[in-house]
């Protein structure tokens, strides 16, 4: 019975622990300085908005950890002794391990802005960040959120939900347009503004000005404008949280470098989730993927390897999702902000301008490559199958009803979508009716 120690109790670390327990009798210890019990980081925003209490973000009850013999240690790991296989905690105690999994996640980026460490200036990543936002946002006249990514729009929505006026600085010329195609990026600009969030595109932060108590009182933008505010949210992305690894013999680049088995250069030491960096990127993925789903997949994979069946990390077809205020977004396969050389695009929007579908496909072979959807839920399994069998865009469109995942009684758009395709690409496709057989009863 070996002792597996996991640093970090986010989705990656906890998934690894759960699967190791399923597969083996190893002793398991999880160390976290953030909170004793696992909680869903993605749900922090809902706690602030009053949709949930913090306890609701915890997927497992307290008895779960004892029942599954997963020891929880609250502590901060100061350093790793890879040769003696031991961890030294900030309180001086030591923990010995046979296998070590590093799942330490990310930390918000700070780019050396003047005033970035003032009171009232914060990121939004940890439980502690949530607590400080609760404190900082009291009697707040205006907040400024810097950085147009997923956390930025969430933070803007959070503050807005408490009727705090928000100015949202986005460096790019349109929201998240490094990821979203132009049409869809613009839908989100509109959504942000409709919610009375003061969106400033092509605007970045120059400095944060302090009042006499060391508290932020205003920001200055690159356009020279000064915006008075008492809360500044820094949401310009995240990077691996690996400070304490730097002095060990574990090799790092931006993140902790791992091979396809998620192993670091040190034997029996693995890294998963946001903090891991692939030596060689997998497919068209980035070497560091700070995404919930990939963290979970890595956790599952590493558990198998540790339990005696070495398994390569093969994340399958790309998928992701998000919610931009009231607009739900899902994506399956690859739809780049700018189409690549071999790609063609089909784009559709409904009359309200809030629902949109963009499909990317190969110009020559018409092979379906990926889909972005706003406001229409789609069935993951269908797209996974189509991507695997390299279905054509026409097949996908004709069978779109099979893939619809909206609740019953919702309006359907398949006919409208296919009409648009037919006129754009001079085709004669027809909508096929939904088939339970195709959806659920695979051969």
């Amino acid at each position: 019975m070996k002792h597996v120690v996991i640093i970090g109790n986010g989705i990656s670390g906890v998934t690894a622990a759960r699967h190791i327990r399923k597969l083996s009798d190893h002793r398991i210890t999880i160390i976290s300085a953030e909170s004793k019990y696992f909680f869903s980081r993605t749900a922090l925003m809902y706690v602030f908005m009053g949709h949930m209490e913090f306890k609701h973000t915890q997927p497992y009850e307290k008895w779960f950890w004892q029942k599954n013999r997963i020891d929880l240690v609250e502590g901060f790991v100061q350093s790793i002794d890879t040769s003696d296989k031991k961890l030294i905690l900030s309180n001086g105690s030591e923990i010995l391990f046979d296998d070590l999994i590093l799942a330490t996640g990310s930390k918000p980026n700070k780019f050396g802005w003047p005033g970035q460490d003032l009171k009232g200036v914060q990121g939004l990543y940890s439980k502690q960040d949530l607590e400080s936002l609760e404190e900082n946002s009291k009697n707040c006249k205006r907040a400024v959120v810097v950085g147009g990514g997923l956390i930025g729009i969430e933070m803007a929505e959070m503050l807005h939900s408490r009727n705090i006026p928000v100015t949202f600085l986005v460096r790019e010329s349109s929201f998240w347009n490094g990821v979203l195609p132009k049409e869809q990026s613009e839908i989100i600009n509109k959504e942000i503004r409709e919610n009375h969030i003061d969106l400033r595109l092509s605007t970045s932060l120059k400095e944060i000005i302090s009042d006499e108590y060391g508290r932020a009182k205003a920001v200055v933008t690159n356009k020279g404008e000064t915006i008075e505010c008492t809360v500044v949210g820094l949401t310009a992305g995240v990077s691996p949280n690996i400070e304490f690894v730097k002095d060990s013999s574990i090799k790092i680049n931006k993140g902790i470098l791992v091979n396809e088995f998620l192993q670091t250069n040190c034997k029996d030491i693995y890294a998963i989730g946001d903090c891991a960096e692939q030596h060689n990127a997998i497919g068209q993925r980035r070497p560091i993927e700070a995404v919930w789903y990939t963290g979970r997949m890595m956790g599952e994979t590493v558990a198998r390897t540790i339990c005696g069946t070495p398994v390569e990390y093969k994340p399958g077809h790309w998928f992701n999702s998000a919610k931009f205020i009231d607009i739900e977004y899902q994506t399956y396969g690859w739809v780049w902000a700018q189409p690549k050389e071999n790609e063609d695009r089909f784009s559709w929007q409904d009359s309200t301008g809030k629902k949109s579908i963009i499909i990317s496909f190969d110009k020559e072979s018409k092979t379906f490559l990926g889909i972005n959807t706003f406001g229409i839920r789609l069935r993951h399994e269908r797209f996974d199958t189509w991507l695997t069998e390299k279905a054509s865009v026409e097949k996908v469109l004709e069978h779109l009803k099979d893939a619809n995942f909206d609740p019953e009684f919702f309006q359907h758009y398949e006919q409208e979508i296919i009409d648009k395709y037919n006129s754009d690409f001079n085709a004669q496709l027809t909508v096929r009716s939904k088939s339970w057989k195709r959806i659920f009863l695979k051969a």
Partner: protein, 537 residues
């Protein structure tokens, strides 16, 4: 807009104030002939009681509280007297029980002898109580169309508001609801003014004077309508919620309220055609010819047969095709109230494993009780045993029926089932007590096309689904494993799917094959399936 909302709230509160306040101002005057009629109709034989009551209550103006207390005190004193006699005259001993006396002895007298402003101004009183409460409610909820912002899930502040997080406002609502149900079921004599407020409506509908049950039915429909407006605004982006709310409101107003009243107007038995046994636990009571359904001619027989067909055929067939949601959140009155008045409290249902265990014992326990009680009822009917005859251990069929009625019918489904909304969530009865839900749950679990499909690997374990599940199902625990949700307790309200920020959940009726299969490779990890199969060996 905020001001408009506040004005609405105040108007509504004023309506409630008149409504509730009238309980404390009700007065009575019992003329001689009313008193004589009451003594005769209640078959009171004790001269001791009649003499004293004659002296102390007839032709005197007094408050309802005073009158009620006097009757009960005299009843008790009379019984003491009668039981102290050498030869006890049993027919002179009055049957007194705390939960029955007020309802059966006191209420009829109080109802016909009420005096004062309310009985003389029933129409006006209706408008300043019901009228204001409804108007204010419509204004307050209507203003949310603007206040909530653009259509979408807007649960902002729910956990921070004293009305919805078991704070002081929730506690006031809790006490008010429980108090109301206790009065309604056991002490309707104190509700006489509220009952009179709907007297004109009752007279107009069926021609009969209003009873406490008419008041309850009318309130039920009004509350559901006002809170349905709230749902129509809150979920205006969600067609499933809109259609479902409209349908359940329709069934309440038409099937549970109007049709029965119209039947009564035509001298037919009061009957709710959608109320299925064993929720309708007294369907088989008094099958006998005198006053049960069988004594009502063709239509009575039809109602009885319909009731049996509903339970034995329609219910299971519909559950097979659509899940128990077709009843629980589309048709049922209890469900209808839970989904409207109860919607603001849905997040308060307990999600722990312990509460799931308690739930299974309780709800199936009630089902067994209901079946046993009904079995006994049928046994006494077919063996031609009178319901008051002892069957075993000194217990009669009537005892079993009344204890079911008291503990399950009144206390559990009413006082706890609705009264506890503000502290235990809005489906307390449906989740822990309803025997029909238990029955349909078994069908749903083992033989149904209904499931909540989990969308592959898209779950982020945020917990909105579990938080807002009124049945206390830990939806997330399934969703994060990529497993479909097939739970006997799911009433298919669809809110988990509505609040999911990633489009992970879909209520659907599909083939029964693979209904509960897990789909591990869909979580996105491209694992070698063959290796996985070998491993599982």
């Amino acid at each position: 807009m905020k001001t408009i909302k506040q004005v609405g709230v105040i108007i509504s509160l004023v309506g409630f104030l008149f409504f509730t306040g009238s309980i404390f101002t009700s007065k009575n005057y019992v003329p001689q002939e009313v008193f004589d009629g009451w003594i005769a109709s209640k078959n009171i034989k004790s001269e001791f009681f009649i003499e004293k009551a004659q002296a102390s209550i007839v032709a005197k103006e007094m408050s309802t509280f005073e009158l009620s207390n006097k009757i009960i005190e005299l009843g008790k004193a009379s019984n003491v007297y009668q039981l102290s006699q050498e030869n006890i005259a049993w027919e002179k001993v009055m049957k007194l029980k705390w939960n029955k006396t007020s309802k059966e002895y006191v209420y009829p007298l109080v109802r016909v002898s009420a005096i004062g402003w309310v009985p003389e101004n029933q129409f006006l009183f209706f408008w300043i109580s019901f009228g204001l409460a409804i108007l204010g409610g419509v204004i307050a909820f209507g203003s949310e169309y603007k206040l909530l912002g653009p259509a979408g899930i807007k649960n902002n502040g729910i956990m921070q508001h004293a009305a919805t997080n078991k704070g002081w406002m929730g506690m006031i609502a809790f006490v008010y609801f429980v108090g109301f149900y206790v009065l309604l079921y056991f002490f309707p004599n104190y509700l006489v003014n509220p009952i009179l407020s709907v007297n004109p409506v009752s007279r107009g509908l069926s021609g009969n004077p209003s009873s406490q049950w008419f008041l309850y039915g009318f309130m039920y429909c009004s509350v559901m309508t006002v809170f349905a407006i709230r749902i129509f605004i809150k979920y205006r982006h969600n067609a499933y919620q809109m259609v479902r709310t409209g349908v359940v409101l329709f069934f309440q107003i038409v099937f549970a309220f109007l049709i029965p009243e119209i039947l009564v107007a035509f001298n037919k038995p009061w009957f709710d055609f959608k109320n299925a046994w064993p929720l309708d636990y007294d369907l088989f009571f008094d099958l006998n010819k005198d006053w049960g359904l069988l004594g009502q001619g063709q239509i009575g027989l039809f109602m009885l047969v319909w009731g049996i067909v509903l339970t034995l055929i329609i219910v299971p067939v519909m559950v097979y095709f659509y899940g128990k949601r077709w009843y629980c959140s589309w048709v049922c009155g209890c469900g209808g109230l839970a989904e409207t008045l109860g919607d603001p409290y849905r997040q308060l249902s307990d999600k722990s494993l312990l509460s799931w265990k308690v739930e299974r014992w309780l709800i199936h326990g009630v089902l067994v009780f209901a079946i046993g009680m009904t079995g006994l009822t049928l046994h006494t009917y077919f063996s031609e045993i009178e319901s008051w005859q002892e069957i075993a251990f000194g217990i009669t069929a009537y005892d079993v029926q009344t204890s079911y009625g008291f503990f399950i019918g009144s206390i559990f489904s009413g006082v706890i089932g609705t009264g506890f909304y503000p502290i235990m969530g809005n489906r307390v009865w449906c989740r822990f007590g309803c025997p029909l839900a238990a029955y349909m749950g078994l069908v749903q679990k083992f033989k149904s096309r209904f499931r909540i499909t989990t969308n592959g690997g898209q779950c982020i374990s945020c917990g909105n689904c579990s938080t807002y599940c009124e049945q206390g199902i830990d939806v997330r625990s399934y969703a994060q494993k990529g497993q479909n949700i097939v739970r006997s307790s799911c009433v298919g309200c669809g809110v988990c799917s509505a609040v999911c920020p990633r489009g992970v959940l879909k209520l659907e009726n599909g083939p029964t094959e693979n209904r509960i299969d897990e789909n591990p490779n869909l979580l996105g990890n491209d694992i070698d399936l063959l290796a996985l199969i070998k491993e599982k060996k």
